[in-house]
Symmetry: C2
Subunit: 223 residues, 2 copies
């Protein structure tokens, strides 16, 4: 079964790779929509307390267990750990599935602000698609902080989620998820658009670092 | 005289390099605020008809004449022509002045959509600052089409102009200009932010190419 076979919001099994703030925020979002979630992590013990408060449709496991269980998979690892996480998860467990790539290629080794470790002629989104050739990768949820990923409430109306990917049906599913989470959707085309969305994350970060506030989100205005 | 010495909106002499749509749109904006404008172009004859309708505070000349005459200078050339235009204009004519860099490193040689010819570890904004070491370069007006640069009217309120540059006083002047033109302002810090604002132009372009509409502009929502 893969993302294509789901009517819009029938209950899905969602595998989330990464148990940090992004993974947990998106897990809560999917649980709130009635889906079930398995969070893949290197250290399942770490999640025990959080899991005890998160209801009975969520569990944790290894990266491979989360990937295998998911009809839809979300990548919510650190950018620097994405390749290894996919290796541990087993690329064969992604075949035919819609994969939301929420990662950013942020290198914090030089302190704040981070730098992008890939860009211009390539991107982490494109690498993910190459590492998972059988998957339907959609770059999304990378241009906003985890606090606003689900049900963002801003004066000025819903912000816009910028996404891109090569598979139209996968983008349709992810667009529906974004809309259920309270976002408008801006589709940039193929996965190579990640070359521009990953720098856009940096626009979000630089403004946050400079303003000292992290309570902002992009919107595209239209006539 | 340089940008620092202007009280906010005293009448300025503005030199604009480039007589295309961007140059003309910004010229009209500055004229509307009461400033005088000299547009630098390779072919002053080309502008004769436009000039005849644009009032008596605007003239045309060579790139060098426009740069020399301006207390504030705007770069509105094609990205691919920027280096040569600055060479023709004479870098010494920019010394101490605030320079608005509205260019984008767009390479159309492969058709639509264009590609960026510099990025990730460098940017056209940073190159401009290196080509004009004595100038106070501010990247701005590169994330929106020329039709909306001045007095943009969108449902949802004023869009935001994203800018960056190394000189705080120059950014203050450019921020005031943006506000007078009807924009909010988002300051990203130093000129190296151009590495992210130039890809953000591509987000604007890719969405336009995909949607078939070119009537959109970015806004940053805040709590």
């Amino acid at each position: 079964m893969n993302g294509l076979e789901f009517p819009a919001m029938e209950a899905m099994k969602v595998g989330i790779l990464g148990s940090g703030d992004v993974g947990r925020a998106l897990a809560k979002g999917f649980l709130g929509l009635g889906h079930s979630v398995k969070i893949g992590t290197r250290d399942p013990q770490k999640l025990r307390e959080w899991l005890s408060t998160a209801g009975d449709r969520v569990s944790s496991g290894t990266f491979a267990e989360a990937a295998k269980s998911g009809d839809l998979i979300v990548l919510a690892t650190l950018g620097t750990g994405t390749e290894q996480a996919l290796h541990l998860a087993g690329p064969e467990n992604f075949a035919g599935k819609t994969v939301i790539d929420a990662t950013n290629p942020l290198d914090f080794s030089g302190g704040m602000p981070p730098k992008l470790f890939v860009g211009h002629t390539d991107s982490l989104g494109e690498r993910v698609q190459r590492w998972l050739p059988g998957a339907r990768v959609v770059k999304a949820f990378n241009t906003v902080g985890n606090a606003f990923m689900v049900n963002p409430k801003f004066p000025g109306g819903p912000p816009d989620m910028f996404l891109c990917g090569n598979d139209e049906a996968a983008k349709k599913l992810v667009s529906q998820i974004c809309q259920h989470f309270g976002w408008g959707v801006i589709d940039l085309g193929g996965i190579e658009g990640s070359r521009h969305l990953e720098p856009m994350c940096m626009v979000w970060v630089l403004y946050g670092a400079r303003s000292g506030a992290w309570t902002h989100a992009f919107k595209m205005l239209h006539l």
